[in-house]
């Protein structure tokens, strides 16, 4: 089973990285990118399990390890 996890910075949390990328793009002459927020994207391969089990596992993993919920939000999608 495959899944995808998205981790994004919570609203209002400073994203120095996004700021730097956006500024560089405009230095490159690529105007039109107003804002860019950088998060993480993970492709997960799961062993055999039921969908509810997968959901529980992913939620646990995100909460306890993958996302830093003080400053980040997460969501995930299970394929199929």
């Amino acid at each position: 089973m495959k899944a995808r996890i998205y981790v994004t910075l919570r609203k209002g949390v400073l994203d120095p990285q996004g700021k730097a990328i956006q500024r560089s793009l405009s230095h490159l002459g690529m105007e039109g990118v107003d804002e860019i927020r950088v998060g993480k994207f993970m492709e997960v391969t799961l062993g055999e399990m039921t969908r509810p089990d997968a959901e529980k596992l992913l939620d646990d993993a995100c909460r306890r390890l993958i996302a830093n919920t003080v400053i980040e939000d997460y969501r995930f999608e299970i394929e199929g």
């Binding site: 209002g12 400073l14 730097a20 003080v70």
Partner: protein, 743 residues
């Protein structure tokens, strides 16, 4: 926010007591509006106002022939000759680091760096003093990883080497870790800048990052005890941007080479509010500020939010009138935001405008000088007597002393901290002559023959058992550590971490520790030039050990006089300085804690006169190049210090055979691990022995020849013996093993 009506309840939510609120109403002659209330609440928070600590801090000796700037500015400054000075300070970031270890520690480093470069100094080195809960507490490894990588992430990126520190574990920090950061910079006497908003009509310029809603209430959070609800305060954590800080550092130092700057200060706790009010207060001026001109990262920010935001990497500059464009140009070059947001006025009033409308108007003195000051009740707790009781004769003797010795060498408090400092760039800027691993770090001052030695120290167990003696011993250990590097201690910064000051026993601890530090500093002629107080370090009513960390700065006129703490060569002779101190002192010792699971007794006695002669002697011997090494005896007594001198040697560990300096009547385990103070293990080549003994007698210092360096065992008389390689391995792996960081 604008619509919030200020009531006594709202004031209470802002952490103001009923009395404090009444006082605000009285000075203003009316009810404050919400923006004004916000200003008072952050400025009168413990963190900004030092209301519980101020009267005690006055006891510190802060003067001395070298002191160019004592407490009261962003950092202290001490002369090192040749028109140069060192500028340094230590600061806590405890609560934020517990909530979000990476960002909390990172922004702590960022904050202390700004305190130093705002005075015109280029930062050249940092230290970090860390206290965590038990290694086996489930949260400890996570906190250690986060804090260490946060310090690394910020310090490495900005390019200031982190050259030393401490890591200590105890259950009392399970729910409240301590992260104290220290930075030292070098400044020319004629380029020192201060936080003064002087010169009526001078423009107030905001520079650095844009303002967002970060850390609003950060200052009040740092002054409130943790409870279950602190979870809710989470979104207010600040995120550090070391890249922007690096630009800010370079831009500020470039600006300071011009003569555009009248005053400058970083925005730390309580951001825009504290920086502007403090600068005006020092200069006795007032100001007008147009909040709509503040560069903003988020939309629809209210005056309240703009004033209280703790967004990082921002500074306030008061420029000379007519020179604003030069200032703006420099910041533009460095890709930083900069904007004129106000002007200095003569009348001592802060007028804050938003789009032309006055949103707050308060007398500056009312907020700063007239902030409440409390002389809180202090009382030695009854349980202190029980704590101080220790019957050594009832202590079971370990069956295998060598085994206990090895266990101490590998316990996380004693074990190699390389896991930590390998993550820090400790050599960038190529000044690090003595890297982490010795008693103090030594950094050369390029362009001179000089070097500085720095060390941070505090034994919280001693402070718990007797805060007065513990305070003295922290200073003594700091002085000894820099002396063991060949330096003369010239100044000190402190970071006082304590529990809730509203409890009389905490206030007693606090007062006593300050008195102890003061007494030792006076005796050793080390001025306290800067520092920081962190109170309310407790979780659910349980306080930490009193932890007054001191960072000691020493000067070497000749960098080549420097010493290291490890033995150098086979055949060198080993001596003990102060070895006549043979009353067993095991109260608060590492041995008692690690082997017997107890923290009790009275800490070792401090002999300040002896410490002073000891430091002077080591420095003299170092400058005569008599010594090959010097290492002070601290946790674990003679046995652990000896083993450290053997196994920390970078060219590979080496053995030593020494005799037992204690009388035979003393129990062998006590002789090995007694923590008598004022003792230093030195080594020298055989050719220097006579000269060394003579120098010691000139300084009226007790010296005893203990033995010789060499072999593959560390041997103390016929009491105990360790294999060098085995000890080295246990010591190297102890830290990672205890925290479960092994592979």
């Amino acid at each position: 926010m604008k619509d919030v009506v200020v009531t006594p309840e709202v004031a209470k939510e802002h952490g103001l007591t009923a009395d404090e609120y009444a006082r605000i109403q009285a000075t203003l002659g009316r009810d404050p509006n919400i923006t004004e209330l916000g200003i008072f609440s952050v400025m009168w928070s413990e963190h900004c106002s030092y209301k519980s600590s101020r009267i005690h801090l006055r006891k510190f000796p802060t003067k001395g022939p070298r002191v160019l700037q004592g407490p009261g500015e962003n950092a202290g400054i001490v002369d090192i000759g040749d028109n140069l000075a060192v500028c340094f300070k230590m600061e806590s970031h405890n609560h934020p680091s517990f909530i979000e270890p990476y960002q909390g520690a990172a922004t702590g480093v960022g904050g202390i760096l700004r305190d130093v470069f705002t005075m015109g100094a280029r930062p050249i080195a940092s230290l970090n003093s860390l206290r965590f809960g038990r290694p086996e507490h489930p949260r400890t490894p996570f906190l250690v990883e986060g804090v260490v990588s946060g310090i690394a992430g910020y310090g490495n990126c900005i390019g200031v080497p982190t050259v030393g520190g401490e890591v200590f574990f105890d259950e009392c920090y399970d729910g409240n870790i301590l992260v104290n950061a220290f930075t030292l910079g070098v400044v020319r006497h004629d380029r020192i800048f201060r936080g003064y908003a002087s010169g009526v009509g001078n423009p107030i310029i905001y520079v650095g990052s844009k303002t967002g809603r970060d850390g609003i209430h950060g200052a009040t959070m740092a002054s409130g005890e943790f409870d279950e609800k602190s979870e809710e305060k989470r979104p207010t954590v600040q995120v550090g941007d070391p890249f922007t800080e690096k630009l800010l550092l370079e831009a500020c130092l470039e600006l300071m080479k011009t003569d555009c700057v009248e005053g400058i200060q970083d925005m730390g706790a309580a951001g825009l509010t504290s920086s502007t009010f403090e600068m005006a207060s020092r200069a006795g001026t007032g100001f007008i500020m147009n909040l709509d001109q503040v560069p903003q990262r988020e939309t629809d920010m209210t005056p309240y939010e703009l004033l209280l935001s703790e967004s990082q990497e921002r500074m306030i500059i008061v420029a000379r009138r007519g020179r604003e464009q030069e200032v703006l140009d420099i910041f533009e070059k460095w890709d930083l935001d900069a904007a004129v947001i106000g002007e200095v006025t003569p009348d001592g009033i802060a007028r804050l405008l938003m789009n032309g409308v006055t949103v707050a108007e308060v007398p500056i003195a009312a907020v700063t000088d007239e902030a409440p000051i409390y002389d809180r009740p202090a009382e030695r707790p009854a349980w202190q007597d029980d704590l101080n009781r220790l019957d050594l004769s009832a202590l079971p003797a370990p069956s295998d002393l060598s085994e206990s010795w090895l266990a101490l060498m590998s316990c996380p408090e004693m074990a190699d901290k390389k896991w930590v400092y390998r993550q820090y760039d400790y050599m960038i800027r190529t000044n690090t002559l003595v890297a982490p691993g010795s008693d103090a770090a030594v950094l050369r001052i390029k362009g001179t023959r000089k070097a500085v030695a720095i060390s941070s120290d505090c034994n919280p167990r001693y402070c718990y058992l007797d805060p007065f003696v513990g305070g003295m011993l922290a200073v003594c250990e700091g002085a000894r550590n820099v002396a063991c590097s060949g330096a003369e201690p010239i100044g000190l910064s402190d970071c006082l971490n304590f529990g809730n000051p509203e409890r009389p026993e905490i206030m007693w601890q606090f007062r006593s520790a300050i008195e102890g530090i003061s007494k030792a500093c006076e005796a050793l002629a080390i001025p306290v030039v800067s520092g920081n107080v962190s109170l309310y370090n407790e979780t659910m009513g349980k306080g930490i050990y009193p932890t007054p960390t001191v960072a000691t700065v020493g000067l070497l006129e000749d960098a080549d006089d420097r010493l290291v703490s490890w033995f150098r060569a086979e055949g060198d002779r080993v001596f003990l300085l102060g070895g006549d101190r043979v009353d067993v002192e095991l109260g608060g010792s590492l041995y008692l804690k690690e082997v017997h699971g107890r923290v009790a007794g009275v800490p070792p006695a401090a002999d300040l006169d002896h410490e002073k002669r000891l430091c002077a002697f080591i420095k003299a011997a170092a400058s005569k190049r008599l010594l090959a090494s010097a290492h002070d005896l601290a946790e674990g007594g003679l046995a652990c210090a000896l083993a450290e001198s053997c196994i920390t040697r970078p060219d590979g560990p080496i053995g030593a055979v020494v005799s037992n300096p204690f009388p035979e009547s003393v129990r062998p385990d006590f002789a090995l691990f007694s923590e008598n103070q004022g003792r230093v293990l030195v080594s020298c080549g055989p050719a220097n022995v006579a000269a060394l003994l003579e120098a010691a007698s000139e300084h009226q210092l007790h010296i005893s020849q203990l033995g010789t360096v060499g072999g593959d065992a560390i041997v103390i008389a016929d009491i105990a013996r360790l294999n060098v390689a085995e000890t080295h391995k246990a010591w190297c792996e102890g830290f990672a093993n205890a925290l479960g960081f092994g592979e």
